[in-house]
């Protein structure tokens, strides 16, 4: 069969591209060989295909038993197993060349069920035949419908796109127009959109009136080139193209299922032109998420060539597509529209540009102001909107902690600004209606910090002390530790053990460093609060409990990192002796000092190598000697652990060697 195929192809080689033919020949050769070896019983099918590749033009159809027999064989195989790419090439060529007239052409087209892929080459040749042979319109329609059905199975689209203009020219044929529009819709790239094509389509529109297929194609043109054409789609129009009565669809699915292939059903998923907007009454106009649409006036500095390469976010339909185009995604005209699609949200998560987020912020702020702050009744749309926001929030998790941190920050700032300004009328007019007393405010802040503490403990537990989550939580405590000094609020709230210990025992040095910084800030706040209390003898004071908690943490931290006395009595960590013994960990009390702490171990090893480059055996304990110890600390501080530096300098008064019992910790 391979030889014959080769022969038949070279017969026609005058009209086709030689190199491409050779390539497909090689492939067909290979596959044909394999098939022959695999199953001799398929001989009749091979012979049938051979017949169609060789049959001479003008062979009579009526009374041609051979043709009937071969057609039956092909149909049987097609509907049971599907056709190989080579067979499809041969049969499509046979059909579209009208070798034996129209009726076998239709019959062949109707059984063109691909087993795997459809060779692009065959489709391109068939499209060329559309123009050359006198194929009846109904058959042409059938062919285009077939292309639409198998579009996702065509092995490449580049050559089809190359003949975009050629395909476009069929649009004037009234019966073909809807299907051609659909095909163009699937093929269109930004570079295909030109003013003359827009004008042609508009001309058709004026002739045919409102036609969904024109509308959809034009709206895609608008996505790519909003500067050329504009269009507003009525909300009652369904999105996407009509699903035609496609004769191949069920057979195709059956074949693919049998062949164990994943059914690619993108035929209908590729085009959601516009989200249906349900709001008939325009009362809550701010609550509609805007539809994703491409920006009209791009930054003027971006030149034309780079702009051609940009991909509008609307065009992306999968995560992998997004990853592929990450560097050239064009943001939509309205940032609010991002909230409507999870894919867009993925992208939003990576967006760093300030003005982009500011746009989103303006939109969200305005919607929230208009619909919730200035309007009291809640409605279906409002709930919908809030649900949307919730899911977005859920999507951008970790964001919650950040929000709470911001809330605290804003509150405290509000307090510090207004407290200073209290000579001015705070509740001037209706613009600010918030009027609360200092103690009331203090209580609310305390409640917030406690609430976040509980939330954080629980979150860390659930997420297995996720480092990222921990980082956001520490962000929060960076704010919370400074309430007195930075914001002038006489209130200090310590983190709960559920936050403190995971941070101290974290495996990444950054968390430990930040905790050290936070403890350092707590200390400064507490000492200055205390000294102010003494000086002014004011009634306010920070509860004894807070000092106790702080000291408790501090002692533990110093014991753990510095004194190698982790399992000291009076700590929150109660581990029974025998359990420790069972674990077979040598010197368990020293496992979390600056040298053995999992977060710093690698630094210790590195330091050891730098300090004693000659030594073969690593003996970390040798760092504990007085001199290397201070060098080691210096080395750590030089790695950028400023938090540790502050902590050590402020809380450990004497630079003493570890193990020396006098690692003095600050006590009150």
């Amino acid at each position: 069969m391979a030889d014959t195929l080769n022969l038949s192809d070279s017969d026609r080689s005058s009209s086709s591209d030689q190199s491409v033919t050779n390539r497909s020949n090689n492939r067909s050769l290979r596959i044909a060989e394999k098939e022959r070896r695999k199953n001799e019983a398929e001989d009749s099918f091979v012979l049938a295909v051979k017949y169609f590749s060789e049959v001479e033009e003008g062979t009579p159809v009526f009374g041609n038993d051979q043709l009937d027999r071969n057609l039956e064989v092909v149909e049987k195989v097609a509907f049971s197993k599907g056709l190989s790419p080579e067979a499809i090439s041969v049969l499509l060529e046979f059909a579209m060349s009208l070798c034996m007239g129209n009726s076998p052409c239709v019959r062949v087209l109707k059984c063109l069920i691909p087993a795997s892929v459809v060779p692009q080459q065959a489709v391109v040749r068939a499209v060329v035949w559309l123009n050359v042979s006198k194929i009846p319109i109904s058959t042409q329609v059938l062919f285009i419908k077939w292309v639409l059905t198998v579009f996702d199975l065509i092995d490449a689209k580049d050559q089809l796109r190359a003949i975009y203009g050629f395909i476009f020219s069929f649009i004037t044929e009234e019966n073909l127009c809807p299907y051609i529009c659909h095909l163009l819709y699937l093929l269109t790239r930004k570079e295909n959109v030109h003013l003359y094509r827009v004008r042609k389509l508009l001309e058709l529109q004026s002739k045919l009136g409102r036609q969904p297929f024109l509308m959809h194609l034009l709206s895609l043109y608008k996505v790519f080139c909003p500067e050329l054409v504009t269009l507003s789609i009525p909300s009652r129009i369904r999105s996407g193209f009509k699903s035609y009565n496609l004769p191949w669809k069920s057979a195709l699915m059956g074949v693919q299922k049998r062949n164990g292939l994943q059914v690619s059903s993108s035929i209908s998923s590729a085009f959601t032109v516009k989200e249906k907007s349900i709001s008939r009454k325009r009362k809550h106009c701010h609550l509609d998420l805007p539809a994703l649409s491409s920006a009209l006036n791009k930054e003027p500095q971006s030149d034309l060539t780079s702009r051609r390469k940009m991909v509008p976010l609307v065009q992306l339909s999968s995560f992998s597509q997004m990853l592929k185009n990450m560097h050239r995604i064009e943001l939509p005209a309205q940032m609010g529209s991002l909230l409507g699609s999870s894919l867009a949200l993925q992208y939003l998560d990576c967006v760093q540009e300030e003005s982009t987020l500011l746009r989103l912020n303006f939109w969200l702020g305005c919607a929230l102001h208009e619909e919730f702050l200035f309007c009291s009744q809640t409605s279906e749309e409002a709930l919908q909107f809030l649900n949307n926001l919730l899911s977005v929030q859920h999507f951008l998790q970790c964001g919650l902690m950040e929000c709470l941190n911001n809330m605290l920050l804003k509150w405290l700032t509000w307090h510090s600004v207004y407290a200073l300004e209290d000579d001015l009328d705070i509740s001037l007019n209706s613009h600010t209606s918030i009027n609360i007393t200092l103690s009331g405010f203090k209580d609310s802040v305390m409640e917030l910090v406690h609430f976040v503490g509980r939330l954080a403990s629980l979150g860390l537990q659930l997420e297995g002390c996720n480092t990222l989550l921990l980082s956001f939580i520490l962000d929060f405590y960076e704010t919370a530790s400074d309430t007195f000094l930075k914001f002038d609020l006489p209130l200090v709230v310590m983190p709960p053990p559920g936050v403190f210990y995971p941070a101290l025992l974290a495996t990444d040095p950054v968390s430990v460093d930040r905790l050290a910084y936070i403890m350092h800030r707590y200390k400064l706040n507490l000492t200055s609060a205390k000294s102010q209390e003494k000086r002014t003898e004011q009634a306010f004071h920070i509860s004894r409990q807070t000092f106790l908690e702080f000291n408790h943490y501090l002692v533990f931290m110093v014991n753990c990192l510095w004194n190698c006395r982790m399992f000291h009595a009076n700590t929150d960590l109660h581990v029974r002796e025998e359990l420790l013994h069972k674990s077979n960990v040598p010197q368990p009390w020293a496992r979390f000092d600056f040298i053995h702490h999992p977060a710093f171990m690698s630094y210790a090893v590195d330091f050891h190598q730098k300090c004693w480059p000659g030594r073969k055996a690593v003996d970390l304990d040798s760092i504990k000697q007085s001199k290397p110890w201070s060098w080691y600390l210096e080395y750590l501080f030089n790695q950028g652990f400023d938090g540790l530096k502050d902590f050590v300098h402020s809380s450990i008064t004497k630079q003493v060697t570890p193990g020396d019992e006098r690692g003095d910790s600050q006590r009150r």
Binding site: H286, N297, Q334, L360, L409, T413, V417
Partner: protein, 363 residues
């Protein structure tokens, strides 16, 4: 500045721009430094203490006719405008107004004939839109130029040669917008927070929708609240010596059953005399406050008006709210409608309204 007439002596003006108290500014700086971390959804420029000025410069009458096209001025002055506030426009360029005009007219046509696509081209035969800079209508150097939008159209059953008529107009402006706010925005944004429109509602809607889609901004209604209306009362009455206010009319809504609306009309001379009695002596003011009207004076004036009313009618207007103010210089309604009848006070009016619009910006 205009030469001051004799009658102006009682309300001397100096050209000095009122400085906000330096104290306030330093707080703001401290606020900024506090904001160490920023969230992805909380990046709006730092502005917490935005509020209505407690003190504002008395109206400096300006002859806008010299710097603003008289036709434009006539358009501004003759009609009543419905106000909205607008969040900052993203990627708006004053140099692109021509192409915006094309886009907007195509957009209007497309909106009118749902489902039919429209080429974005020079000529739409049903609508002609022009966006232009309203030259000269700015006050401080930070203010972006005012943009005027006009829509012309032919009536439905017009004759062939009949010219297109103006069917809708609107403008976007920023007069003496808070410099802190304006400077805090990045270059990608243009802040024209005050939007006035006049014409059929559907066109307003379409124009707003186009701006939203094109510049990623949001529109919201701008009501003129009780306090701002009181300011208008004071600012206008204060001008009486330069241009006769003819009358001072205030509409009060009193919560009674059934709801009671009270139109309180004051003789211009009486209003002026009362104002002078309430106004602080210039000498008593601090140096930087000379030529300014203080909120204190405004509320004092309103109190005086209310107690006068109470003496005559035994009805305390404090229970109600001011919903509309008008003099010969202009009209302001709480629903956000404004009319500026005298071109000399356009800037002052728009300054106050810009401030109101900026207050509405989401933080």
């Amino acid at each position: 500045m205009e030469p001051l007439g004799e009658s102006v002596m009682r309300t001397p003006h100096n050209g000095a721009v009122v400085q906000r108290r330096s104290k306030t500014r330093s707080y703001r700086r401290s606020y900024r430094s506090c904001l160490g971390t920023t969230s992805r959804l909380c990046l709006t420029p730092a502005l917490t203490t935005r509020r209505l000025n407690a003190s504002r410069r008395a109206v400096k009458p300006q002859t806008l006719t010299e710097r603003v096209d008289p036709a434009h001025l006539a358009l501004l002055v003759k009609s009543e405008w419905q106000l909205s506030y607008v969040t900052p426009l993203y990627q708006f360029r004053h140099t692109q107004l021509k192409s915006y005009s094309k886009q907007l007219s195509a957009f209007i046509v497309a909106e009118r004939q749902q489902g039919l696509a429209v080429e974005v081209s020079e000529l739409q035969n049903s609508y002609r839109v022009s966006l232009s800079v309203l030259q000269g209508l700015t006050e401080s150097e930070n203010d972006p130029e005012t943009v005027l939008i006009q829509i012309h159209s032919k009536p439905l059953f017009a004759k062939q040669d009949e010219p297109q008529r103006s069917v809708w107009s609107g403008w976007l402006t920023c007069i003496q917008g808070s410099p802190e706010y304006l400077c805090s925005l990045s270059k990608d944004f243009t802040c024209l927070p005050l939007f006035g429109s006049r014409g059929p509602e559907y066109l307003s809607r379409v124009v707003k929708s186009w701006f939203q889609k094109t510049f990623d901004c949001c529109f919201g209604p701008l009501e003129i609240n009780h306090t701002s209306l009181q300011w208008f009362v004071a600012l206008w009455v204060d001008c009486h010596s330069q241009s006769n206010i003819q009358h001072l009319k205030m509409l009060w809504t009193v919560p009674a059953e059934p709801p009671l609306q009270i139109m309180y009309t004051v003789d211009p001379q009486d209003a002026w005399d009362l104002w002078n009695s309430v106004k602080k002596e210039e000498a008593a003011k601090e140096a930087e406050e000379v030529g300014c009207i203080e909120l204190e004076e405004v509320s004092g004036y309103l109190e005086a008006l209310k107690s006068h009313f109470y003496r005559h009618f035994r009805l305390d207007l404090s229970a109600g709210i001011l919903t509309q103010v008008s003099t010969a210089l202009g009209l302001a309604k709480d629903t956000g409608r404004i009319k500026m009848s005298n071109s000399r006070h356009v800037i002052a009016t728009l300054t106050l309204l810009t401030e109101c619009a900026l207050l509405k910006m989401p933080i």
